[in-house]
Amino acid sequence: MKESVFRKAVSTREHRNEVYIEVRKEDFKDVCAQLHARQHARLRLMFATDERQKDGHFRVYVVFSAPGEDRFYFIVLPLAEQESSFPSITSVIPAAHWYEREISDMFGLVPHGHPDQRRLVFHESFPVRSHPLRKDWKIDESDIREWGEGTAVKVPHPFMEVEGEGIVEIPVGPVHAGIIEPGHFRFSAVGETIFFLEPRLFYTHKGTEKHFETLGFVEGIKLAERVSGTSSFSHGAAYCMAVEMMTGTEITEKASAVRTLLLELERLYNHIGDIGNMCAGTALAVGYMKGAVIKERLMHLNERLTGSRYLRGVNVVGGVTRDVFAHADDILKTLDIVTGEYKDLMQLLLGSVSHIERLQNTGRLSKDIASKLGVTGVAARASGLSDDIRKSHPHLLYDRLIFESHTHERGDVFARMMIRGEETECSISMIQALIESGYKGNLSVPVGAASAYSSALGYAETPRGSLFYWVMADREGKPLRVKLRSPSYCNWPAVPFAVHGNIVPDFPLCNKSFNLSYSGTDM
């Protein structure tokens, strides 16, 4: 299959379930468009690397996966050092729009033909023509001070302006009223109705990808666990998987089982917490507090199992540090209590007409827009797209477990709540099923050295959606590039579409129904 793509390939290489297809610059856009349109391949991530130390080239990678196939297609475009642009694919694959702007910020490789040439990651006061992920990048003290002071406008960032009678512009953030992460929102409202919303993110940009390069592969796990707090375990698992695949390390059945169980536990506490949090958006205090209590119960379980409320410190490259199956009784007992409390909560919520009425038809995201923007996870499934990396690319023990990937068609806040509810029940039964059998093997195995310029992809389904880590080693086996793509990165651009036509007071509710991580997006 995909003969037309392979015919245009300059070279191809396979590594496990990854197929690297190097193409010429003139074929690049066509190949991507064909894969996307004819094979219905989904854009998973897109990034660039600075491989000048290897062969004097930058490379742009576009990663697709086709439905019904456990394979990832990497379309690779090499760019000689003096080339400063690559053909933009945003016009044919809209989901690429942020990735291309990010590449432009980080590498100075301009996406030729991109409709939005503004910066994405860096704000106005970041120096012109300064690209941190280039290997020879340096920044001087005065520039970094000016960046921090934020007062010097070096590259202006004009917001989209909506003009017309009765249009009011409402700027919100970056410091918000609640206990949430920072981001700036520019609403253009007609009366109370949101006509247009432009979010400005990346306030929490911490240079994570560059920082990975200084840490080394084994140490990197600590950083991966601190990219997004509520998905700490998924980030750790995906990162470890990438490094293990690259070094050819096979983890034991036991380690796989521990990771699978904790991934589901993480999903469980997030989903129940999110269902509760949505009540804060409709001022249903009882539901909010009930949700918070169940979540807290699960956080205590996390602490008893792993010593960390956020399941940190369990994942290491090559396996895990703790055998959570030793606490099987504790897990089952807590799950029993949680199941009962959760059922009570859902009964309360579904029986509250005032709550349900606020959720229905609010924040609708159409299937068409969700698929064009490459939305993932709960948000995608609530809009009728079946996107679950546990099903499409089975890893760990997911091929042994029986579970459903639920989808809803409505795409509103209610659908997103129901998806979370169905997945909560699914996760509980998956954890119970996992505990029933015994698993062989040590907790962790020694990790081999990475060979020069080897690379691999790691992934996991976080509570928010699919998460990817792609790692590449340099000549000495140290990190040359660590690319991470969190689910929130794909879902943020969809939020403005979902809130269009809703009233401003419903924005917090819509936002909570997506529950996106700013830190995971901003990196």
């Binding site: 950083l223 509520t230 807290e296 700013y518």
Partner: protein
Amino acid sequence: MLKDILQNIISKKKVIPFPEGFSVTADQAAKIVDFQGRIDKIFGRSLRIRQVDAGSCNACEWECTALTNPIYDIQRFGIDFVASPRHADVLLVTGPVSRQMELALKRTYIATPEPRLVVACGDCAKDGGIYKGSYAVTNGVANVVPVDCYIPGCPPTPTAILLGLSQLIDRCTR
């Protein structure tokens, strides 16, 4: 648990009956009760906190949110999180302070009326934590605004945050 209660009776410490799941030792609990008295005295029974995320990974935020749940119920001590820095006595800052949040944090600090206290919450807020040395962070809150108190932990548990606040109040009374 029973032993703790017995000890409390013997030592005549006043201890709030903490709900199940609130893992504090008797000494820590006594400290919190003590600190409530001080809040009553100095802050007129109300300590208002404005939480500012300056580039944290959101774990610290969720722990602050957990403080308001029925298990920890921080409001019963007269402490609450407020929506505006203009209403706050304390700025609780999390994260290593990313360069792109530096200006916003400074402005939030200026907007807080004096006398104001600044708490750096979490390992990142202390010295950058795992992010220390990255080009995009300032390696700790103290490099941006003056800090009165540090709460260690990655993230600090809700109990740790509460105890950290109690120490801050302790310092104020001296």
